[in-house]
Subunit: 349 residues, 2 copies
DNA sequence: CTGAAAGCGCTTACAG
DNA sequence: CTGAAAGCGCTTACAG
């Protein structure tokens, strides 16, 4: 009903002081929860604040040196449930710490990422947990670090960056899932998804290759396909693969989202994942359990990684960003129903 | 390598002015992109800024009356992909507007919601898009509005709140999906999920009831079951229903997430959704397509709703929050494979 | 416990 | 185009 001009344009600590009949120092003390103020005085001030609709002005406070209470959470793809789970894990620990996490989504754009990080710095964020967009430059991370901003890299390492890292054991996970396929009898196995520049992809391919070499096989470059790490990207890449003559009998997918896109491409061709071709994922998102057939994948516990990242950030903020820590979470094989042995009739030479 | 104390603690507009050999007014003009500054001067200032690692101090600027460039996006459940899609739609339009959206997750906690909204106000957010937590009080929304803060309610209306609203046509959607079940021959239909206090649930139940009454049936209170709008909550509620004697032949679920929980409860009992019992969802999240069998549901286009909400917020910020708008998005029936006719042998009297 | 004073980093008129 | 001055709302010593 009213028509005030702008939020927080009016009532200040001085108005409160006048209303409560104290000095503004006292109001400030109440704001900070100081024990120096008498209970009766504190009550009077609190009542004045709610009566006048007072809003604390963080900007003014930060200006004078107060600790800001926000931390940034910069996520490269919020539509991927894996990152949503990560975000929720982060919030779980930050919630009890007095910090409020502000999330921003970059949708894999480094330009957007720079904007968002800048905005968070401008607003006085105490630290940032960054799940970096593709093609993030290590030097950018380092210059942030040099300015004294605590940064925790999550999920994706950035070559050349000196920041702390929380990620999962991509190499071991990929090796395990590949070994599983080999034990089912597969010899002609593709790796699909992710872009060439991604460190995570390199690590998973290293595990994949290592598992093959352990049994005297080698990775066929013609079966290592890139795609954007999205359902659509994977669908397209898999459809292209299926239009070629010599199919693999199994596909190790970059992650669950990619695996789901790959399954859709198979279905489109009338093929059934888990019967006509073995498919594996990575991440063990809730979707992995819900697709049909349920996806054999690698569990990395995104929520736990989020918690670790938040704890690490809190430590760095407290310590003043001196140390660099690394936490590599376990990557467990989760066998469900998306993997069959290779079909006899299509066995290759 | 360095050891600066805190981010943004040092270099200010004055340092830049000195470095570039101009006055600080000029630096401020450059910061605002004013055309009054000569190109050569602008360059000199820009170089000085990057040389010294300057970070704009939003707090100080806002203090003096500058427009803040953040808007808040407060989401009640980020782990529900529906809300992730909503968030992404919001970002899509905000991205081109110069505003940076900061997202916060309340996990259905009104306490958390109050904290988060307060923090956003303290940081000078220009407006907030709020997907309210359960049990949000209309008076809280109204007092925010009275302070001049533009607020757009998204997805869930709040009884008593005077804020603008972007939501979907819950009543029509629920009626459509119920009519679909009736046309398949169902007469004994349950409604499952959501908590009693939720306005959205009330609207959907109204559509459900109306569709039944159109054909001379009435909703059986024993078949209207509450649950938290989560997979686990739905699983529990459905399991309880299945332990009772007279099952329904079809279940209209509060949303897709609930439907998936219901399906899992059926599977646990050895029953197949779409063969032994008809199940419907609401929202048409990407998961609805991926579950097995694919879910018959109501499509509400979360991304589009997000875009509408963002456009509405931008309008309100520009206009100074005078008008109250409402946008109700269409709710289309999407028929997939989770609905069968009622089984003959279990047909009730 | 309270008051007076200084200053954080910026923007905004107002003269030049 | 540029400089000098005032002031936004808070916190921080410093006296009392």
């Amino acid at each position: 009903m009213t028509g005030k001009r702008r939020a927080s344009t009016n009532v200040t600590i001085i108005d409160i002081a006048r209303e409560a009949g104290v000095s503004k120092s006292t109001v400030s003390l109440v704001l900070k929860g100081s024990t120096l103020v008498a209970d009766e005085t504190r009550d009077r001030v609190s009542r004045a604040m709610s009566k006048l609709g007072y809003v604390y002005n963080r900007g003014a406070a930060n200006l004078r040196g107060a600790q800001s209470s926000i931390v940034g959470m910069v996520i490269n793809d919020l539509s991927n449930p894996f990152f949503a789970e990560l975000a929720i894990g982060i919030e779980r620990v930050l919630r009890t710490s007095g910090y409020i996490p502000f999330i921003a989504n970059t949708a894999e754009s480094v330009v957007r990422q720079a904007e968002v990080v800048r905005s968070m710095r401008e607003h006085g964020a105490s630290g940032i947990i960054l799940s970096p967009a593709l093609d993030t430059d290590g030097r950018e991370i380092n210059s942030l670090l040099d300015l004294g901003m605590p940064i925790i890299l999550a999920i994706r390492r950035v070559p050349g960056a000196r920041a702390s890292l929380v990620a999962s054991d991509n190499m071991a996970g990929a090796a395990r899932v590949t070994q599983h396929l080999i034990s089912l009898g597969h010899r002609r196995i593709a790796f699909l998804g992710g872009m060439g520049a991604m460190a995570v992809r390199k690590d998973r391919i290293a595990g994949f290759t290592q598992a093959l070499e352990e049994v005297g096989l080698r990775a066929d470059p013609a079966l290592m396909l890139e795609s954007m790490p999205t359902k659509d990207g994977a669908f397209t890449a898999m459809s292209a693969l299926l239009s070629r003559p010599d199919w693999p009998t199994a596909v190790v997918c970059f992650n669950d989202v990619v695996a789901i896109g790959v399954m859709q491409a198979l279905s489109r061709k009338g093929l059934l994942p888990g019967r006509d071709m073995a498919i594996t994922g990575f991440d063990d998102t809730t979707e992995a359990r819900q697709v049909s057939p349920p996806l054999t994948t690698v569990s990395v516990d995104a929520g736990d990684l989020g918690e670790r990242a938040a704890q690490m950030l809190l430590r760095q903020i407290a310590a003043g960003n001196q140390t660099t820590e690394t936490y590599i979470g376990e990557a467990r094989l989760v066998v469900r129903e998306s993997c069959c042995p290779p079909p006899r009739e299509r066995k290759v030479s």
